[in-house]
């Protein structure tokens, strides 16, 4: 008998069965159920089911992050309905406007641990692979069903193993690795599959860089994505929780649907052109494209190190394009204040937004005008994503986004000095 992949192991555990194979359909009990600004709509679905109370409110996590603070009265009403529901159902893991983006906040609060399962009404729930957990996005009806029953059916996916070897060159980041993978294999390259990352690159990635990879696998069509957790991750979690955990690793003889290997040591900065994250070219091919706005933020590119990379580029410079910085969480912002990164950003003329999802999906401040181009550290450049269809979006790493804000056109950071 061959060994088991991570998803085969973790989903068997969550279903309370001794073993599972790709293709098996299981009823799993997730440790955490995530929703955010969509919670009021999920409440309406839950109320249709006819169950008076949530089965286990302790497993719920609710954040207000997608349009926070409320930009319109309608958004404010939506938030008010969510706060009422949180009170009514006694939901303890509730995070208010300004605390930050769900995936970042849940990581900081250590509410998901290695080998745990989180299902969330958010496609980027794949994020939690950075902790060695299983994270998967689900629909609103499924969250309502989980509130009522605590269980959900899942078909155990096949696994695509992505081996990353080598050290990243200076000025190249995890964002470029994600764009390389998606650009090479396409936006449906991971469809219906789980991803397992391995290789010598992983341990070299900092804590802030690691989540970029599983997070952006949502743009790859993957159900979930996993990175084998190491001591760096365990230390991070132990500083934040006393809850015990036992990490889970795939067997050496596990069966993979496919294995793809990338050597990242010669990788260069990449840019995803409008309107798909797999429309990826080397930075040199996007060079000189005028942009009116640069956006640093989101669950993909708004952590402390992203801000620090931007500060490194813009320190002492003036900006030709608007540069909007939205920290992924309040803790990210506090750290940027403590280290002086924020002062450098403000000195250069950055616009600072409230910790949250910001301008990523056209719901909040920082939306472009028609015909204005944006370069973003986010994960999605779909047509119309930021609110209007004729405002093109380019995706790149924080150094490139910052350099482009300085010159007003897509620029290599090395050309600024």
């Amino acid at each position: 008998m061959t060994g088991f992949t991570f998803v085969e192991k973790v989903l068997a555990q969550a279903a309370g069965v001794t073993q599972a194979r790709a293709g098996d359909v299981l009823d799993i009990r997730p440790h955490r159920i995530l929703s955010h600004d969509n919670t009021a709509a999920i409440r309406k679905l839950f109320e249709q089911i006819g169950v008076p109370r949530i089965a286990d409110p302790e497993r719920l996590i609710i954040t207000l992050d997608h349009a926070a603070p409320a930009p319109t009265t309608l958004h404010a009403q939506n938030h008010a309905e969510i706060r009422e529901w949180v009170q009514l159902q006694g939901i303890r893991h509730f995070f208010e406007v300004g605390r930050g983006i769900c995936h970042q906040v849940i990581s900081e609060e250590a509410l998901v641990l290695p080998a745990e399962v989180i299902l969330g009404a958010d496609s980027h729930t794949t994020h939690f692979g950075w902790l060695g957990a299983f994270g998967m996005g689900i629909g609103r009806s499924e969250v309502a069903a989980l509130w009522a029953t605590g269980e959900l059916w899942l078909a155990v996916p096949k696994t695509l193993r992505i081996v990353l070897n080598g050290a990243l060159p200076e000025g190249v980041t995890a964002k470029d690795i994600a764009l390389k993978i998606i650009g090479t294999l396409g936006v449906d390259g991971g469809a219906y599959r789980a991803i397992e990352f391995s290789g010598t690159t992983l341990a070299r990635l900092s804590l802030d860089e690691r989540p970029v990879l599983p997070n952006m696998m949502a743009e790859f069509g993957a159900m979930s994505a996993y990175m084998p957790p190491d001591e760096v991750v365990f230390d991070y979690l132990r500083q934040r929780t006393t809850r015990p955990f036992t990490p889970l690793y795939p067997d050496a003889d596990a069966t993979y649907d496919e294995t793809v290997t990338f050597d990242v040591s010669a990788l260069e900065p990449l840019v995803a052109l409008p309107h798909q994250p797999d429309n990826v070219v080397p930075l040199s091919e996007a060079y000189g494209q005028p942009i009116q706005q640069a956006f640093v933020g989101t669950c993909t590119g708004g952590r402390y190190e992203d801000l620090a990379m931007v500060a490194q580029v813009v320190r002492g410079k003036r900006l030709k394009a608007r540069l909007l910085v939205v920290p992924a969480s309040a803790q990210v912002l506090q750290r940027a204040i403590a280290t002086g990164v924020l002062a450098d950003l403000l000195e250069a003329g950055v616009t600072l937004g409230t910790a949250g999802c910001g301008a990523c999906m056209g719901n909040h401040m920082g939306v472009p005008a028609p015909h204005e181009a944006t370069i973003s550290t986010g994960s999605r450049n779909f047509k119309g994503r930021m609110g209007t269809t004729d405002a093109p979006i380019y995706l790149a790493n924080p150094y490139v986004v910052a350099a482009s804000a300085v010159t007003g056109c897509i620029t290599h950071p090395a050309d600024l000095v």
Binding site: D37, G50, T72, S123, G139, S141, V187, A191, A218, G362
Partner: protein, 164 residues
């Protein structure tokens, strides 16, 4: 029983934002409001053209991107009864089932028809006919069939709890 449907044909990688834009996801609530914005950024004439009972025929990776269920319900509440695609975004596939809309995976489908053509579903024989060719519908697992038969996940649970 056979049913005939007029189809609306689209290409590859049509994402959730094109089917239902993110800027509407927290403020539009009623079925009418949500349906009124279906496919707004891809095919602005869709909402005028669509008739109850119509179906979508698409290329690869239909519905990739966000988890937002309105990318299914906007079509459902516009009158769409089924979606045929070469492949689906994984989340979208589940959302279809949970909303009682059958997702039909069919290689090459979008090349066989044009918008306005007729597609025939034979529910007894479990076949679909389009562009003069007949194909077997991919079989569904019992748990998925049960959700579709109930009209979706929420109606299924509602019926279950009404009995207890």
């Amino acid at each position: 029983m056979q049913t005939t449907h007029t189809c609306h044909v689209y290409g590859d990688d049509v994402n959730t934002d094109l089917i239902f834009a993110g800027k509407y996801t927290y403020t539009l609530r009623s079925q009418e409001e949500i349906a009124a914005h279906a496919l707004e950024d891809l095919d602005p004439d869709f909402v005028q053209r669509v008739q109850p009972g119509d179906i979508i025929v698409a290329g690869r990776n239909w519905g990739c991107g966000s988890s937002r269920e309105q990318a299914v319900t906007a079509l459902k509440w516009s009158g769409i009864r089924a979606i045929i695609a070469e492949s689906f975004g994984g989340l979208y596939f589940r959302n279809c089932i949970n909303q009682g809309i059958r997702p039909i995976v069919l290689a090459g489908a979008s090349a066989l028809v044009r918008t306005g053509d007729t597609v025939t579903l034979d529910h007894a024989a479990q076949t679909v006919t389009l562009g003069g060719q007949t194909f077997a519908l991919p079989p569904l697992s019992p748990s998925v069939q049960a959700i579709l038969d109930a009209g979706g996940l929420i109606p299924m649970l509602k019926a279950r709890y009404a009995k207890t």
